[in-house]
Every structure is written in C-alpha cells, then in structure tokens.
C-alpha cells in the first residue's frame, strides 16, 4: 500500500457538520485503506464548571435541574466527541463506518471490506471521504486522515 493523501485539521467545541475531502486517483487500484484518528474523544477531568455548563445547556430537559451530582458526573463521563466517516466513489456510496473505534481503519478490495463498507471490483475515479461531526465536546480537537492504495 502506498499512502497518497495525508491531511489533518482542528475542530472547535460545538462544531456540527461535515468536512469532505475529494481525492482523484491517477489509475485504478485493487485495494484502498483509510486511516482516521482524533484526540480529546472524552473529557479527561470533570470540573465543577463543566457540571454547571451541562446543566445550563440542558435548559431543563432530561430532569437536569434535579439531577444529583453523581448523575451529572456519570453523564459527562459518557459524553464524547463523535466523528464518523462516509466514503463515496464517483458519487456512489461505498461505505459508512458508525462504530466508535478511534483510530478507524477502513479497508476496501474486490472481495473484502470493513464492516459498514461494500467491496469494490476496482478502486478508481474520485474518492470522497466525508468526516461527519455529530458532536465535538472540546476545543482544539485534532484529527488526522490518510488514504493508501495498492
């Protein structure tokens, strides 16, 4: 496999949306692998400020105003930055990886593909990789994406 694309970026807290990368392949290939990783997936420490912020952001939903300190702490522990990957080839869907793995390795060939993806007879044309940000819980969240082919 040779790496033909390597990119990264920084996301701010609260970002919701997608960032798409289009890669034009110079020739047909038999295999393709994508690697995607990001940091700050969970909170490292749970501060009083964070607890107050969560309760305020809930605006009375989820019984937040009557939640115990233990419940708030447990909720914050379960919160995560959620970034997913969707892959198309020549505008056709070829994979969506919803599993929370970090890093994610996504593989395509004629006979095999990572769960969520569809094997491809040939890897050719334009690959579009969309980083889908469902939630980003911390500022300066760094991500890295690379694409390799064979």
């Amino acid at each position: 496999m040779k790496q033909i694309y390597d990119v990264g970026g920084i996301l701010n807290k609260g970002f919701v949306g997608q960032i798409a990368y289009s890669i034009c392949l110079d020739q047909p290939y038999e295999e393709m692998a994508l690697s995607f990783a990001f940091d700050k997936q969970y909170y490292d420490s749970i501060t009083e400020e964070l607890k107050k912020e969560l309760v305020a952001e809930c605006h009375g939903k989820y019984n937040a105003n009557s939640a115990t300190d233990e419940m708030i702490t447990a909720t914050i522990k379960s919160m995560k930055t959620e970034l997913q990957i969707i892959v198309t080839m020549n505008d056709e869907f070829i994979g969506g990886v919803h599993r929370q793995d970090n890093p994610k390795i996504i593989y395509f060939s004629k006979t095999q593909a990572t769960e969520g993806c569809i094997p491809q007879e040939s890897i050719n044309g334009v690959i579009r990789v969309t980083v889908v940000a469902f939630s980003v819980i911390q500022d300066d969240t760094h991500y890295k994406l690379s694409l390799s082919v064979n």
Binding site: E57, C58, Y62, Q84, G96, H98, R99, Q100, S135
Partner: protein, 306 residues
Amino acid sequence: MYKRLELHNHTIESDGNLTPSELIDLMCDDKVDAFALTDHNTISGHIKIQEALAKKNIPLSCIYGMEYTTYYGHILCFDLKEYIPWENINLHNPELLFKAIKEKGALAGVAHPFSYGYPIGCCRFEMTFTDYSCLDFIEIFNNPEPLHEVNEQGLLWWESLILEGHRIAFTSGMDLHSKDSMHGQFATFIEGKENGDIITELKQAIHTQRTWVSKGPLLVIEKNDYTKTLYISIQNTTKPGYVEDERPYLLSLRTKKETLCFSFNHKAPLIIPYSNLNSSSILIPKLYKDNLEIENLIAVAPVIYL
C-alpha cells in the same frame, strides 16, 4: 393473518454485536415473520442478509432499510434500495430528506423521538416539521428506551398529531444491538397473507395506518356503519413471552375531548354503539390491564375514524 415484524435492528455492519447470520437466527428463534435491517448510515449488510437467508432457506423475510443517524435525530427507513445522502440535512427543514427518501419508494419515520439529544447525544429528534405528510410513521415504542422519559412522550406526541388530524402510522422496535430477549417487549404487527410480499404488505399497512403494536395480543376493532357499532375482540398471536390470564382487559379510547374506558374479557367480544362515543370522530384505541398507567399498556391498535 397477522404478521409480526421487528423493525429496528443493527448488526456488526454498524454498531451492533450480531453478525447478519446471527440476527437471522435470533429472529427465527423468536418466531418473527419479518425483520428490518436498519444499520446506522450504511446499507452494506443488505447483500449479506440476502445471501444468508438464501443459504438458510427459512420462512423469514427481511425488510431492507437503514437508520439515518443525523446530527438532529434518527430516521428509520424501510425498503431503501440505495443510499441517499443525508449530510446536508437542514435542522429547520427535515422534509427535504424525508421527501428524497420517499421519492425513491422507501418509507421514512422518526425513531425514538424523545431519546437524549443535545448536549448529551444526537438521538433526540430535534427537527420540526411544517409538513407532516412526508412523515410515514413514528416509532412510538423503542423498547430499550426509558418508559416515561422517552416512550410515553413518543406515544403522546403521535397521539397529539393524530388528534390534530394528521394521518401517521406507528411502529415499535427492539433497537437490537445484541442478542437481547424480546419477551415482554412491544412488537409491530400488520395484516398480511401467508405467502404475501412483506414489502407490499408493510407499505399498505403504513400508508393506511393499519399497524398494531403489542406485547402479544392484538386489539381488533371492526366498524359496522349499518348497525352503528364497534365490535371489539382480542386476537392472540404467537409472540413468545406473553401469558394470558383471567384479569379483564381495559379498552381505552382517547378522543379530542376525553378518554373513554371499557372493561371486557378476552373470551367475550365487546360491542360499543356509536352513541356511547360522545360524537367523537377520531378514537385512539389502546389495551391495558388493571389501569391506564403506561406500565400496564399491552397494545395499541389502528386509529378509528367515524
């Protein structure tokens, strides 16, 4: 005949723990007639289920679908033949995606509308419709979700839309991610024929709002406009885990103005003259035991229009 459907299931193709083959086995063991494959944001499992079903040669049908997992809530689709991009979803105009899905011939509905949303997660349906005609169904019971905070709210939302005059079907789902027991949980039922095409039957049921949700028995209501009566009976199903007992059932009919309640026995049908329904034109029938608390809800039946 009535067919039991399990309409919300995941596999290892998204975040479930079951392989497509294991999901089929689980459905078979629980005597399900048809199940939907609704992995998050992928259709990669469709071919794998097709191949596994062909190999096993069993009388079980699959409804190929997907659970669109968006920034602002989850959308269940049935009979989705191709992936329709959702990433440009508009918080203030969900109709765009719903219409795109429906234009391809699929059914589209809201999953677990009151699950946790911002800032805790992305599962609550945060979008607001201005045109409900593009919404085929609402998943009123997502079995693993909390009864009061999520499912009761979902049921009440659907009821309020019905009483406002919208024609929207209802479903339930296990939201299966692993090998969980389905006993004592709500399932969806539709009318069908023994060798009938499940996709045709499901579409007919959803488009005419003829679905049932039940833990076992079905509440069957026949209108007789000639005698001006409702004929109400209980139809037993083969859903495992439900045990009939001698306690009487309570039939609740929610209308715009009130909730009417009638006690009856599963062995003897109930006949209600229209004159006892206080001139109500929309009635939402539900079946309970003991009292009308949500914990005692057994079944929801298609809405009656008089």
